[in-house]
Protein backbone atom coordinates (compact mmCIF):
# COMPACT_ATOMS: atom_id res chain seq x y z
CA UNK A 1 0.00 0.00 0.00
CA UNK A 2 2.84 2.38 0.86
CA UNK A 3 4.29 1.84 -2.57
CA UNK A 4 0.99 2.64 -4.24
CA UNK A 5 0.69 5.81 -2.18
CA UNK A 6 4.25 6.83 -2.99
CA UNK A 7 3.60 6.36 -6.68
CA UNK A 8 0.38 8.34 -6.44
CA UNK A 9 2.21 11.13 -4.62
CA UNK A 10 4.93 11.12 -7.24
CA UNK A 11 2.43 11.25 -10.09
CA UNK A 12 0.55 14.13 -8.49
CA UNK A 13 3.78 16.06 -7.98
CA UNK A 14 4.84 15.33 -11.54
CA UNK A 15 1.57 16.43 -13.08
CA UNK A 16 1.41 19.45 -10.80
CA UNK A 17 4.91 20.55 -11.69
CA UNK A 18 4.19 20.11 -15.38
CA UNK A 19 1.05 22.21 -15.09
CA UNK A 20 2.78 24.95 -13.09
CA UNK A 21 5.44 25.22 -15.77
CA UNK A 22 2.87 25.87 -18.48
CA UNK A 23 1.87 29.32 -19.60
CA UNK A 24 -1.83 29.41 -18.98
CA UNK A 25 -2.80 30.80 -15.59
CA UNK A 26 -5.69 28.36 -15.26
CA UNK A 27 -3.36 25.38 -15.64
CA UNK A 28 -0.96 26.88 -13.14
CA UNK A 29 -3.69 27.13 -10.53
CA UNK A 30 -4.74 23.54 -11.16
CA UNK A 31 -1.08 22.59 -10.86
CA UNK A 32 -0.73 24.18 -7.42
CA UNK A 33 -3.88 22.41 -6.33
CA UNK A 34 -2.55 19.04 -7.51
CA UNK A 35 0.79 19.55 -5.82
CA UNK A 36 -0.98 20.33 -2.58
CA UNK A 37 -2.98 17.13 -2.92
CA UNK A 38 0.25 15.26 -3.51
CA UNK A 39 1.59 16.73 -0.32
CA UNK A 40 -1.49 15.56 1.57
CA UNK A 41 -1.01 12.01 0.36
CA UNK A 42 2.65 12.25 1.30
CA UNK A 43 1.69 13.35 4.80
CA UNK A 44 -0.74 10.48 5.12
CA UNK A 45 1.85 7.98 3.95
CA UNK A 46 4.69 9.34 6.02
CA UNK A 47 2.69 9.01 9.22
CA UNK A 48 2.25 5.26 8.60
CA UNK A 49 -0.83 3.82 6.97
CA UNK A 50 -2.72 1.89 9.55
CA UNK A 51 -6.28 1.08 10.42
CA UNK A 52 -7.74 1.50 13.85
CA UNK A 53 -10.45 3.09 15.90
CA UNK A 54 -10.84 6.80 16.40
CA UNK A 55 -8.73 7.88 19.36
CA UNK A 56 -9.89 9.50 22.60
CA UNK A 57 -13.32 7.87 22.78
CA UNK A 58 -12.56 4.91 24.98
CA UNK A 59 -9.84 2.34 25.45
CA UNK A 60 -11.34 -0.89 24.20
CA UNK A 61 -10.18 -0.95 20.59
CA UNK A 62 -7.17 -3.02 19.61
CA UNK A 63 -5.53 -0.25 17.62
CA UNK A 64 -5.96 3.48 17.26
CA UNK A 65 -5.15 5.73 14.37
CA UNK A 66 -3.01 8.78 14.81
CA UNK A 67 -5.26 11.84 14.67
CA UNK A 68 -2.54 14.41 14.15
CA UNK A 69 -1.77 13.86 10.45
CA UNK A 70 -5.46 13.74 9.70
CA UNK A 71 -6.06 17.00 11.51
CA UNK A 72 -3.13 18.54 9.70
CA UNK A 73 -4.37 17.28 6.34
CA UNK A 74 -7.87 18.56 7.00
CA UNK A 75 -6.49 21.96 7.93
CA UNK A 76 -4.32 21.99 4.88
CA UNK A 77 -7.24 20.98 2.63
CA UNK A 78 -9.35 23.80 4.01
CA UNK A 79 -6.56 26.29 3.51
CA UNK A 80 -5.92 24.96 0.03
CA UNK A 81 -9.61 25.24 -0.77
CA UNK A 82 -9.70 28.85 0.33
CA UNK A 83 -6.48 29.84 -1.37
CA UNK A 84 -7.32 28.08 -4.62
CA UNK A 85 -10.71 29.73 -4.84
CA UNK A 86 -9.15 33.09 -4.04
CA UNK A 87 -6.57 32.44 -6.73
CA UNK A 88 -9.31 31.59 -9.23
CA UNK A 89 -11.18 34.80 -8.50
CA UNK A 90 -7.95 36.73 -8.79
CA UNK A 91 -7.06 35.05 -12.08
CA UNK A 92 -10.50 35.81 -13.43
CA UNK A 93 -10.19 39.46 -12.42
CA UNK A 94 -6.71 39.63 -13.88
CA UNK A 95 -7.98 38.13 -17.10
CA UNK A 96 -10.72 40.74 -17.31
CA UNK A 97 -8.39 43.58 -16.44
CA UNK A 98 -5.28 42.59 -18.36
CA UNK A 99 -6.95 40.75 -21.21
CA UNK A 100 -4.68 37.72 -21.06
CA UNK A 101 -4.02 34.63 -19.01
CA UNK A 102 -0.67 33.96 -20.57
CA UNK A 103 2.12 34.24 -18.04
CA UNK A 104 4.59 35.28 -20.74
CA UNK A 105 2.57 38.42 -21.26
CA UNK A 106 2.21 39.02 -17.54
CA UNK A 107 5.92 39.38 -17.13
CA UNK A 108 5.95 43.17 -17.16
CA UNK A 109 8.81 45.52 -16.47
CA UNK A 110 9.24 47.80 -13.51
CA UNK A 111 8.08 50.89 -15.31
CA UNK A 112 4.62 51.63 -16.48
Amino acid sequence: MEIMMSIATGVLFMVGTYLILSRSLLRIILGTSLITHGVHLLLLTMSRLKTGAAPLLGQEAAAYTDPLPQALILTSIVINFGVTSFFFVLAYRAYQELGTDNMEELRGGDDE
Binding site: L57, L74, V78, G82, S85, F86, F88, V89, Y92
Partner: protein
Protein backbone atom coordinates in the same frame (compact mmCIF):
# COMPACT_ATOMS: atom_id res chain seq x y z
CA UNK B 1 -28.20 32.23 -15.69
CA UNK B 2 -31.71 30.83 -15.30
CA UNK B 3 -31.98 27.89 -17.61
CA UNK B 4 -35.45 27.04 -16.38
CA UNK B 5 -34.93 23.30 -16.32
CA UNK B 6 -38.20 22.01 -14.90
CA UNK B 7 -36.88 18.63 -13.85
CA UNK B 8 -33.95 20.16 -12.01
CA UNK B 9 -36.13 22.76 -10.35
CA UNK B 10 -38.75 20.30 -9.21
CA UNK B 11 -36.30 17.77 -7.87
CA UNK B 12 -34.27 20.50 -6.20
CA UNK B 13 -37.31 21.55 -4.19
CA UNK B 14 -37.40 18.10 -2.60
CA UNK B 15 -33.72 17.27 -2.49
CA UNK B 16 -32.87 20.60 -0.89
CA UNK B 17 -34.62 19.65 2.33
CA UNK B 18 -33.06 16.22 2.38
CA UNK B 19 -29.62 17.74 2.06
CA UNK B 20 -30.28 20.33 4.74
CA UNK B 21 -31.62 17.69 7.11
CA UNK B 22 -28.63 15.49 6.42
CA UNK B 23 -26.30 18.41 7.09
CA UNK B 24 -28.04 19.00 10.41
CA UNK B 25 -27.60 15.31 11.21
CA UNK B 26 -23.90 15.47 10.30
CA UNK B 27 -23.51 18.56 12.42
CA UNK B 28 -24.89 16.90 15.55
CA UNK B 29 -23.29 13.54 14.86
CA UNK B 30 -19.91 15.24 14.80
CA UNK B 31 -19.70 15.29 18.55
CA UNK B 32 -18.89 11.60 18.80
CA UNK B 33 -18.87 10.26 15.27
CA UNK B 34 -17.59 11.38 11.88
CA UNK B 35 -19.23 14.67 11.00
CA UNK B 36 -19.12 18.08 12.59
CA UNK B 37 -19.49 21.74 11.86
CA UNK B 38 -17.13 21.84 8.95
CA UNK B 39 -18.61 19.05 6.90
CA UNK B 40 -22.16 20.03 7.91
CA UNK B 41 -21.47 23.57 6.78
CA UNK B 42 -20.13 22.39 3.44
CA UNK B 43 -23.21 20.23 2.99
CA UNK B 44 -25.57 23.12 3.69
CA UNK B 45 -23.60 25.34 1.37
CA UNK B 46 -23.87 22.74 -1.36
CA UNK B 47 -27.64 22.75 -0.88
CA UNK B 48 -27.66 26.50 -1.39
CA UNK B 49 -25.46 26.12 -4.46
CA UNK B 50 -27.86 23.56 -5.88
CA UNK B 51 -30.66 26.05 -5.34
CA UNK B 52 -28.67 28.70 -7.13
CA UNK B 53 -27.99 26.32 -10.02
CA UNK B 54 -31.60 25.28 -10.42
CA UNK B 55 -33.05 28.76 -10.19
CA UNK B 56 -30.70 31.70 -10.26
CA UNK B 57 -28.72 33.86 -7.90
CA UNK B 58 -31.31 36.62 -7.79
CA UNK B 59 -34.02 34.23 -6.65
CA UNK B 60 -31.77 32.69 -4.05
CA UNK B 61 -30.89 36.11 -2.76
CA UNK B 62 -34.57 36.99 -2.52
CA UNK B 63 -35.51 33.77 -0.76
CA UNK B 64 -32.56 33.79 1.65
CA UNK B 65 -31.64 37.43 2.21
CA UNK B 66 -28.47 36.76 4.18
CA UNK B 67 -25.24 38.69 3.91
CA UNK B 68 -22.81 35.79 3.87
CA UNK B 69 -19.84 37.92 4.89
CA UNK B 70 -21.66 38.92 8.05
CA UNK B 71 -22.61 35.27 8.54
CA UNK B 72 -18.94 34.31 8.37
CA UNK B 73 -18.04 36.96 10.91
CA UNK B 74 -20.90 35.84 13.12
CA UNK B 75 -19.66 32.26 13.03
CA UNK B 76 -16.10 33.29 13.84
CA UNK B 77 -17.34 35.50 16.63
CA UNK B 78 -19.33 32.66 18.14
CA UNK B 79 -16.36 30.29 17.93
CA UNK B 80 -14.00 32.79 19.51
CA UNK B 81 -16.48 33.72 22.21
CA UNK B 82 -16.87 30.10 23.32
CA UNK B 83 -13.12 30.12 23.76
CA UNK B 84 -13.17 33.38 25.64
CA UNK B 85 -15.66 31.92 28.10
CA UNK B 86 -12.72 30.06 29.59
CA UNK B 87 -11.29 33.35 30.83
CA UNK B 88 -14.37 33.78 32.99
CA UNK B 89 -14.04 30.35 34.58
CA UNK B 90 -10.26 30.58 34.81
CA UNK B 91 -9.52 27.40 32.87
CA UNK B 92 -7.21 27.07 29.84
CA UNK B 93 -8.38 28.84 26.71
CA UNK B 94 -10.84 26.83 24.59
CA UNK B 95 -11.68 24.44 27.43
CA UNK B 96 -14.98 22.74 26.94
CA UNK B 97 -17.35 20.98 29.25
CA UNK B 98 -20.47 18.87 29.01
CA UNK B 99 -23.24 17.65 31.20
CA UNK B 100 -26.41 15.56 31.13
CA UNK B 101 -29.75 17.28 31.42
CA UNK B 102 -33.34 16.15 31.47
CA UNK B 103 -35.07 17.98 28.69
CA UNK B 104 -38.75 17.84 27.84
CA UNK B 105 -39.46 15.55 24.88
CA UNK B 106 -35.83 14.49 24.48
CA UNK B 107 -35.34 12.96 27.89
CA UNK B 108 -31.80 12.66 29.19
CA UNK B 109 -29.61 14.57 26.79
CA UNK B 110 -25.96 15.36 26.68
CA UNK B 111 -25.32 19.04 26.19
CA UNK B 112 -21.78 20.15 25.42
CA UNK B 113 -20.32 23.61 25.02
CA UNK B 114 -18.24 22.27 22.16
CA UNK B 115 -21.44 22.31 20.11
CA UNK B 116 -21.48 26.10 20.32
CA UNK B 117 -17.97 26.21 18.96
CA UNK B 118 -19.00 23.83 16.22
CA UNK B 119 -22.00 25.98 15.42
CA UNK B 120 -19.60 28.86 14.91
CA UNK B 121 -17.54 26.71 12.55
CA UNK B 122 -20.71 25.70 10.74
CA UNK B 123 -21.79 29.30 10.19
CA UNK B 124 -18.31 30.38 9.15
CA UNK B 125 -18.01 27.55 6.62
CA UNK B 126 -21.41 28.28 5.08
CA UNK B 127 -20.53 31.97 4.97
CA UNK B 128 -17.09 31.55 3.41
CA UNK B 129 -18.20 28.98 0.85
CA UNK B 130 -21.17 31.03 -0.25
CA UNK B 131 -19.11 34.21 -0.40
CA UNK B 132 -16.60 32.51 -2.65
CA UNK B 133 -19.16 30.94 -4.91
CA UNK B 134 -21.29 34.05 -5.16
CA UNK B 135 -18.33 36.26 -5.94
CA UNK B 136 -17.36 33.97 -8.81
CA UNK B 137 -20.92 33.34 -9.95
CA UNK B 138 -22.29 36.86 -9.80
CA UNK B 139 -20.07 38.17 -12.50
CA UNK B 140 -21.12 36.04 -15.42
Amino acid sequence: MNNGDVILQTSTKIILFIIITFSAYLFFAGHHNPGGGFIGGLMSASALVLLALAFDLKTVRKVIPVNYRVLTALGLLLAVLTGVGSFVFDVPFLSHTFGYFDLPLLGKTELATAVLFDLGVYLAVVGVTMTIILSIGEDT
